[in-house]
Subunit: 362 residues, 2 copies
């Protein structure tokens, strides 16, 4: 009963991994193309995987770059795009590691408030008028950490602003294919591929430990970021990329994604119903997919030292502040009241018990 | 007869890869530890591999960090150690990619002339007196590109200076175990482990495409560089690291190194005898192992446009200038006359014919 319940990391559970299939694909990929897979080279990523992804996205092979995970790509992109004094915009809240990465490359990171249907477009334009950013970083589908999906109208409005003022939009879409209800909203690159850098990975669809992430971008940018990569790690790790190509070639990806949705859907339902049951009247995201529900606790709730008090009763939470881009400007009341609730790596029973504990603290 | 002969890259030939064994180790490693190998985590590297390496070096596990290749480690180390305005010292000539990496992290890179038994210690001390460097980067065994091995006396002298003035020495030792004659010189870390960061990889012993490189360093430094890595790529690629651990655990590493030495020794002999035959009187390194012989052509040899002229007769050479740290200060006569001759990926017949062609140009 008092087992610790962990509501912190957006990681897949072990039973999400198609272990035997991955092992088979690794062995086959190495045996069938050793001269390439075990050698230096393939700086933009393993060519057959790039070809498969190019076909999927309807682009040329030279618009695809595959690297050692998508955070690595974000770091290389920031190294290439961020000049001294540059601003980078993110949603607020946003993925904490992306914020850190952009800061480490010298950017001033400014958060644009996230609403129920995507970021506040008026605030975006006001900020852009002040200083044209190097890029806007957005997670448009089932956002990490909030669970929000950006509406088609807002996607169009954001890209209209990006085109008018001249900056890149990075859409990071690792959760996009894990939709539990409703229809997909078009990707931002479908609206304006000349302004959009799409980044995603196989971490949520196959395995994070393989670290296979990729970027779809105009070929000149892909070439420049590939050069940054070559100067950083010489060549990407190839056996894992080749295994992903083999996995796709065998037709195993679509059924695997269906299996994952069957695994995660009951957890998603359990989290949404536990929020309704235990946190009556609290503002919650109601995501259509992905890994996260989030809640913003009411101003009169007892949120002081929430993470520490939760730990005492066996509930592990992430500090909400971590997802807000501007903690340097003092604590944000929104950050203190923000709770991210990842549901994929916990069972429905754990979700119910965890939410009961959370409610008992407020 | 006029097949192109490639004397450029220090890469292993395809038949150097123990392909079937690597495939088997990948599959076994993933199947036997999927919850770790396919998941996020293990930021300092796959724990069982770190334990095996720690035992090999007689250090604690927390003194080992494994990353996606050793160039990645050099980049992370430079990110951590190079402050604005800092100097980094290298041998001259040195590994071109290391020079580029340190520059990209903001270092002023200064080359210390390399002699037949290691760098010029007097010049090292003079340079250090001018400004204490962040670190000295050295390849003490069968150096890339020159093939030189630093003598024990010079290793001691270098570390005495490093200790007196207070800077790190990075010893990069990827070729060390590929010795074709004579006895090993002690590693620099055996002389003073508090001043030395040892970097190496399995690229030359197993496969470059797997990108498994590691660092042996004091635990506080290993922890700081691990944090740099986590902020850059979140987690390292794990299946390939786990496969290396499995390869070692099965006792396959030592026999594989013996096999590689049997493969490379005739090529090494062919290169040394071809140098003697075709380049009479020319100063050549006579390495005891590794991948490279190098020659410094006489001042009166016709070295103008050597690389371009070689290409016309089907011989691919690397510009010697690339290995010299100070090309910004104008062309170096030494660089123009320096020719690196990698012998591992070419057969004895190709070596003989390639050297005949080179001699015909001078």
């Amino acid at each position: 009963m008092h087992d610790t319940i962990v509501f912190t990391r957006g990681v897949p559970p072990t039973d999400a991994f198609p272990t035997a299939q991955i092992a088979e694909c690794l062995a086959t990929a190495v045996e069938s193309d050793a001269a390439v897979v075990l050698q230096y080279g393939q700086q933009p990523g393993y060519a057959p995987l790039r070809a498969l992804l190019a076909a999927e996205y309807g682009v040329n092979d030279n618009e695809i770059m595959v690297a050692n995970g998508s955070l690595q790509l974000q770091d290389l992109l920031a190294a290439h795009l961020v000049r001294p004094g540059a601003t980078v915009l993110t949603e607020q809240p946003s993925y904490d590691r992306a914020i850190t990465t952009f800061r480490r490359r010298g950017a001033r990171v400014v958060g644009i408030p996230l609403e129920r249907d995507g970021l506040d477009v008026t605030r975006l334009e006001a900020e852009v008028k002040r200083q044209t950013p190097a890029f806007l970083y957005t997670v448009p589908d089932f956002q990490n950490p909030a669970g929000v999906t950006t509406s088609l109208e807002k996607r169009r409005a954001i890209l209209e602003i990006a085109d008018r003022y001249g900056f890149w939009v990075i859409e990071d879409i690792p959760y996009r294919l894990l939709r539990y209800r409703g229809d997909s909203v078009p990707m931002m690159r479908a609206i304006n591929p000349d302004r959009v850098i799409t980044i995603t990975s196989f971490s949520k669809l196959l395995s994070p430990g393989m670290r296979v992430g990729y970027m779809v971008a105009p070929s000149s940018l892909a070439a420049a970021v590939t050069k940054e990569g070559e100067n950083t790690y010489l060549s990407p790790v190839l056996p894992t990329q080749a295994a992903v190509a083999e996995f796709i070639r065998r037709g195993w990806m679509a059924p695997n994604i269906e299996r994952l949705k069957e695994l995660y859907r009951p957890r998603w339902e359990a989290m949404m119903s536990a929020v309704r049951r235990y946190l009556k009247g609290v503002v919650a995201s109601e995501p259509d997919g992905g890994f996260f529900v989030s809640v913003t606790l009411p101003a009169d709730a007892n949120t002081r030292n929430l993470v520490a008090r939760a730990k005492e009763i066996g509930l592990v939470l992430t500090e909400g502040q971590a997802f807000f881009a501007d903690p340097d400007e003092g604590p944000m009341p929104d950050g203190e009241r923000f709770v991210r609730l990842p549901f994929c790596a916990v069972t429905p029973e754990q979700i119910d018990e965890g939410m009961r504990r959370l409610a008992s603290l407020l």
